[in-house]
């Protein structure tokens, strides 16, 4: 239930105007065990978001295979849900209608859907805000609604695409802690994409470090910090050590990429 395997995933783009082929992802392999929290960290444009879209079925890879519990996946499916970066709540729906959206797409009647999502709204702490419009909520609250929307369809695999990137630093910290709490309650498998190294180390069981484009996993770091993890664990030497290791990996790669590859310009694929 929720074990993801990516085998030699390749993603190649053909630029319509120039006819150049661009390799966004080059033989990415990873395994995410059921129930674990795994982060994917990497420099800008390394293909993290592209990979996430492939896993969700929004994009078809040009090579390789994706298996969820041994089954090959090629399209969006009920077992996976995405928490998008920009909260992407529909501004014309209320919070409750937004959270119930996934269920509505599955054919659940609106009234039933509304009831079913109540526990999730409660889980993310938005009780009382059901009938508000997104513009009336703060950034952090919008992302919580976003999360509730993904949880409401009860997926096996939760895909999170830099969900806290647009939040201010303080809200971001608090949301990270809340996310862990929610994750413990719901026990999903999570693939978390982020730029922020400390965020990745704090949240995950394993941190997969990606190199610059074309994307591939260059290191698989097991984070050996016991749970539950309060925020202050971020100041411990062990934590900083992990952070350092990830950063030096990325730094070396990025510097090498900048120095050597001048043909890496063009479209940035995130």
């Amino acid at each position: 239930m929720g074990k993801l395997e990516a085998l030699d995933i390749c993603m190649e783009y053909l630029q319509a105007r120039t006819g150049n082929r661009m390799l966004a992802i080059d033989r990415l392999n990873l395994v995410i065990e059921n129930g674990s929290f795994v982060s994917l960290v990497g420099p800008s444009g390394c293909g993290k978001t592209t990979f996430l879209k492939i896993v969700d079925g929004l994009l078809a890879p040009t090579g390789g295979q994706l298996l969820l519990d041994g089954r090959s996946i090629t399209e969006p499916g009920r077992e996976r849900a995405v928490v998008f970066q920009d909260s992407s709540l529909f501004p014309w729906f209320t919070v409750v209608r937004n959270v119930a959206y996934g269920l509505e797409c599955q054919g659940v009647k609106p009234a039933d859907a509304r009831e079913r999502v109540q526990p999730f709204i409660k889980m993310v702490g938005l009780e009382g805000f059901e009938n508000h419009y997104p513009y009336e909520l703060s950034g952090g609250m919008q992302q919580r609604a976003n999360l509730a929307r993904a949880l409401a369809v009860d997926p096996e695999l939760l895909l999170m695409d830099e969900p806290f990137a647009s939040l201010d630093a303080q809200t971001r910290e608090l949301m990270q802690e809340e996310l862990l709490g929610i994750w413990r309650q719901s026990q999903k498998t999570v693939l978390f994409i982020t730029h922020a190294i400390s965020e990745a180390v704090y949240l995950s069981d394993r941190v997969l470090v990606m190199g610059p484009r074309p994307g591939r996993v260059i290191e698989d770091l097991h984070i050996d910090i016991p749970r539950p993890r309060p925020l202050k664990v971020k100041r411990t030497p062990q934590f900083l050590d992990y952070e350092d290791r990830v950063w030096s990996l990325i730094e070396a790669q990025v510097k090498r990429d900048m120095a050597g590859g001048n043909g890496a310009g063009g479209q940035v694929l995130g």
């Binding site: 190649e12 783009y13 053909l14 630029q15 319509a16 105007r17 082929r21 661009m22 929004l58 994009l59 078809a60 040009t62 479209q267």
Partner: protein, 280 residues
């Protein structure tokens, strides 16, 4: 067919590349091809139906007849006379309307009390189809070219005033604060913050005003019955069932409007160099 193409704006999945060169060419230029094809198709159909007599030529004419008419008209003095008169009426009324309109708009926008006093009138005049004033205009100015100029002026003036006014009011609060914190004098604030910010609105107003100005010329010529001008020419052609002349006149009229709009666009480019180019 949904708009899912939006997910990948300029990159095409390489599967498409596997198809033949011709198909690829088509896909890349589909928009232009279908557009041109639909125009050509329409004109071809029109011509054929007209020549076969399946549609009454007297009501619709045909492209070829219109072109023939055009070439003969271009050679008459009368036609060029009409064009000259209409153009003069248009430009005169338009420019006076624009200049006075911008001035009034700036004043009414900047001085709040003035705005309050004028507000009901300006709103009323803007909501009123100014063209309805023509019978009175002719009463005042007589059956002369000046009535037509006035018609153009009325159409232009109020449009420009309202848009300019809105522009002055929509100045960015933050920029005002910056200027104030540097203790800029009021005239300086007006010159360096308000005025540049108003320019897009003025230009938008000008573009709208062109349409009203054209209406002014056309209807003005009918009313003032000066016996000359493009509008008059079109009207008479209609009454005499000379549809080719009529449609030719419409084309010329359209062309005039397009030139004005294009002129405005070039003006806009000059004044808007500081804006990041938003794809229109």
């Amino acid at each position: 067919m949904a708009v899912t193409r939006r997910a990948q704006p300029s990159l095409v999945n390489h599967r498409v590349a596997e198809k033949s060169e011709l198909v690829r060419r088509y896909v890349r230029n589909e928009r232009a091809i279908l557009g041109v094809a639909s125009f050509l198709g329409f004109f071809a159909l029109w011509e054929v139906l007209g020549d076969l007599g399946w549609i009454p030529v007297i009501f619709f004419s045909t492209p070829s007849r219109i072109v023939a008419e055009a070439s003969s008209e271009f050679q008459t003095v009368e036609f060029w006379n009409n064009v000259r008169i209409s153009v003069v009426e248009l430009l005169l009324g338009f420019f006076i309307g624009v200049i006075l309109g911008i001035l009034m708009g700036l004043l009414a926008g900047w001085y709040r009390r003035l705005n309050y006093v004028l507000d009901p009138w300006l709103n009323f005049m803007y909501a009123l189809p100014r063209i309805a004033l023509l019978p009175l205009v002719v009463l005042w100015l007589g059956l002369t070219v000046w009535s037509v100029v006035m018609a153009v002026f009325l159409g232009t003036f109020f449009t420009v005033v309202i848009n300019t006014l809105t522009g002055v009011h929509t100045v960015d609060q933050r920029l005002l604060e910056v200027a104030t914190s540097f203790r800029a004098s009021r005239p300086r604030i007006f010159r360096t913050v308000v005025l540049p910010g108003t320019v897009p609105f003025i230009l938008a107003g000008l573009r709208l005003a062109v349409g009203h100005a054209l209406v002014g010329v056309f209807v003005g010529e009918l009313f003032a019955a000066t016996g000359a001008g493009l509008g008059y020419m079109i009207l008479v052609a209609g009454q005499q069932f000379e549809t080719d002349v009529l449609l030719f006149g419409v084309l010329v009229f359209t062309f005039m409007g397009l030139i004005l709009i294009e002129g405005l666009r070039m003006l806009e480019q000059r004044f808007q160099q500081w804006r990041p180019q938003v794809a229109s």
